[in-house]
């Protein structure tokens, strides 16, 4: 087994035992990026020198046994929406081409203080808007399981990097499913923590009441380790919660015996592929065999979650993206006669089609005459979705369903039809609107393509979700699921 194929937990033990060095692990992962990077196109920028410098520093720390943490010396990829001081960060957009942040995101600072190694910035849909990574302002990412297919999005680069061995783990961001859906489509583990669990300081904003940063890994334990490192209050983000962060590892292995798990009937949506439905039903049975009590529940407003999301998220985005005006940073159009023309040209030339579509949709929903019918109504529907989850969680500890109704689809299959593309997120969106947490874990293959099981737990109960995910993993042994690109190098 090559080092780049290992998990955080394994590597941490090997580093502690001085069996390997962080430089060796980092070189192994950089070697895999050299070998398959042109195939997946997962990275927008590989920070080779920075990574090796950090790896050397981590080795010093390990040698001195000084403040060694679970992530010390572990190579990690960062979605390009995360600001890293003096490292080009573009959010996958041409309007931020060459932008070098003068400060780092809080999650980046925290990983740095743990002694993690930064491999680079991973590709994503422009400003995290998309479900296939085809909206990247630079190039699409290819799924390591089948290079003619999408990896999902918007954290498609992070997902592809983790699935292909081009990173041991990664951070992504999830506004409507952007961590969980690509995790499902690439056979990896992806978690959206509860809103407020992780600081958003330094995350390039898409929809500020929905965005959350979360881990993308190849193992449930690794997701717990990464969450442990990034969770907790940050005085620089007033929307980050003051609630104490539990020790996620201490409850991980408790199992699901006696646990009540709900299956929302609305999550078996029309258009779900039969192989996905079969795999989800098998996963539910497996958890029942482990002692979980399964019961059907209803989330009656699930059908209006997607419509509400496609008002709220674009409305917030249209406001957030007003800052890209060519004045303080980023691209500035040439040849404008006056300031307003400069704004118009800069934004016309700098933004891609999907971003423009959402800015216009959001501006329309907020504009005079439409505000009540669209934006206010969507916010009220959000309340109904929160209440749906509250009622369900009076009866059960966690919910089970598919992450995505389909497996990875071919590149180009949905690019001409925005509505078809939006439907990819139909079962992930409610968790963002409902302020709960969700995780996707691999639960099988259909014709060689991964399927994801989604586990949803109440707000700030990430430990419950991880406990179910761990029990499922232990019973299903999905670690056998490795992408062809990962296997090829074995």
């Amino acid at each position: 087994m090559k080092l780049f194929q290992r998990t955080i937990r394994d590597l941490h033990q090997m580093l502690l035992d001085r069996e390997i060095s962080s430089v060796e692990v980092t070189e192994s992962v950089l070697g895999q990026i050299d070998a398959v990077g042109e195939k997946t196109k997962a990275y927008l920028l590989v920070t080779r020198e920075l990574a090796l410098r950090q790896a050397k520093a981590a080795d010093d720390r390990l040698r001195a046994k000084r403040d060694v943490k679970p992530l010390t010396g572990i190579p990690i990829a960062l979605k390009d929406v995360l600001c890293v001081k003096d490292v080009v960060s573009t959010a996958g957009s041409k309007i931020l081409k060459g932008f070098t942040p003068p400060y780092s995101a809080t999650v980046v600072d925290r990983l740095e203080s743990e002694g993690a190694v930064f491999l680079g910035k991973t590709n994503c849909d422009e400003f995290a808007m998309g479900s296939s990574n085809e909206n990247s302002g630079y190039w699409p990412v290819h799924n390591p399981w089948d290079l003619d297919r999408v990896p999902g999005g918007s954290s498609g680069g992070s997902a592809a990097a983790v699935a292909s061995g081009e990173a041991i783990a990664a951070l992504g961001s999830d506004t409507g499913g952007s961590i969980r859906q690509p995790a499902a489509l690439t056979g990896t583990v992806g978690m959206k923590p509860t809103y407020g669990r992780v600081s958003r300081y330094g995350l390039i904003a898409f929809a500020s009441s929905l965005d959350q940063i979360g881990p993308m890994t190849r193992d449930v334990v690794d997701a717990a380790l990464l969450l442990q490192a990034i969770a907790g209050h940050d005085p620089r983000d007033s929307t980050s919660s003051q609630k104490p962060v539990p020790d996620y590892l201490s409850t991980l292995e408790r199992g699901v015996k006696g646990m009540r798990l709900g299956v929302p009937r609305e999550y078996f949506v029309a258009g779900m592929e039969p192989a996905v439905e079969q795999a989800i039903n098998d996963a539910i049975k497996l958890l029942e065999q482990q002692g979980a009590l399964i019961e059907e529940v209803s989330l009656p407003h699930s059908d209006v979650a997607l419509p509400a999301y496609y008002i709220i998220a674009p409305a917030e985005a249209s406001s957030n993206l007003a800052r890209y005006d060519g004045v303080r940073y980023g691209y500035q159009a040439e040849g404008a006669k006056n300031l307003i023309e400069e704004y118009m040209l800069t934004r016309q030339q700098g933004f891609g089609a999907e971003v423009k579509r959402r800015i216009m949709l959001g501006t329309y929903a907020l504009s005079s005459g439409y505000y009540d019918a669209y934006y206010l109504q969507a916010q009220k529907v959000r309340t109904l979705i929160i209440e749906d989850f509250k009622r369900a969680f009076e009866k059960v500890d966690a919910l089970l369903g598919a992450t995505s109704p389909t497996v990875a689809f071919p590149l180009g299959a949905k690019t001409q039809d925005p509505v078809a593309m939006y439907l990819n997120d139909i079962i992930t969106i409610p968790a963002n609107l409902g302020n709960v947490c969700g995780i996707s874990v691999p639960c099988g293959l259909a014709d060689g393509l991964p399927i994801g099981l989604q586990i949803i737990a109440p707000g700030f109960r990430e430990e419950t979700m991880l406990q179910v995910a761990f029990a499922f993993k232990a019973a299903a042994d999905f670690r056998k699921l490795q992408s062809p690109l990962m296997k090829a190098a074995a």
Partner: protein, 100 residues
């Protein structure tokens, strides 16, 4: 019979693009109009939800009025804040005239 939905017009698309400070070509007006019409049709179910007695949720936080002590703290130096400026003059961002 419910009243038919009034469809998004090209003029409205131009108006919205103007509000969003987004330059747009005549071809794009037609393309975005059609795409936005499709999206608005797809999300029309939103209006069917009965929300007559439901309060709106703007954000999911339990915390209210997050305050901090009123004291100065180190902040970004001007040079760092200006390092990405497309055009600048001294310690300022330089912009075009507001009027011709």
């Amino acid at each position: 019979m419910p009243e038919p939905e009034s469809e998004l017009s090209s003029r409205e698309v131009e108006h919205v693009a103007r509000l969003a400070r987004l330059g747009i070509t005549p071809d794009e007006v037609v393309r975005y109009r059609d795409q936005l019409r499709n999206i608005l049709t797809a999300i029309d179910a939103l209006k069917r939800a009965d929300t007559s007695t439901v309060p709106a949720t703007a954000h999911p936080l339990e915390e209210r009025n997050v305050m901090r002590d009123d004291r100065t703290e180190p902040c970004l130096p001007a040079e760092a804040a200006l390092q990405n400026a497309p055009s600048r003059e001294g310690p300022y961002f330089k912009v075009k005239a507001i009027q011709e």
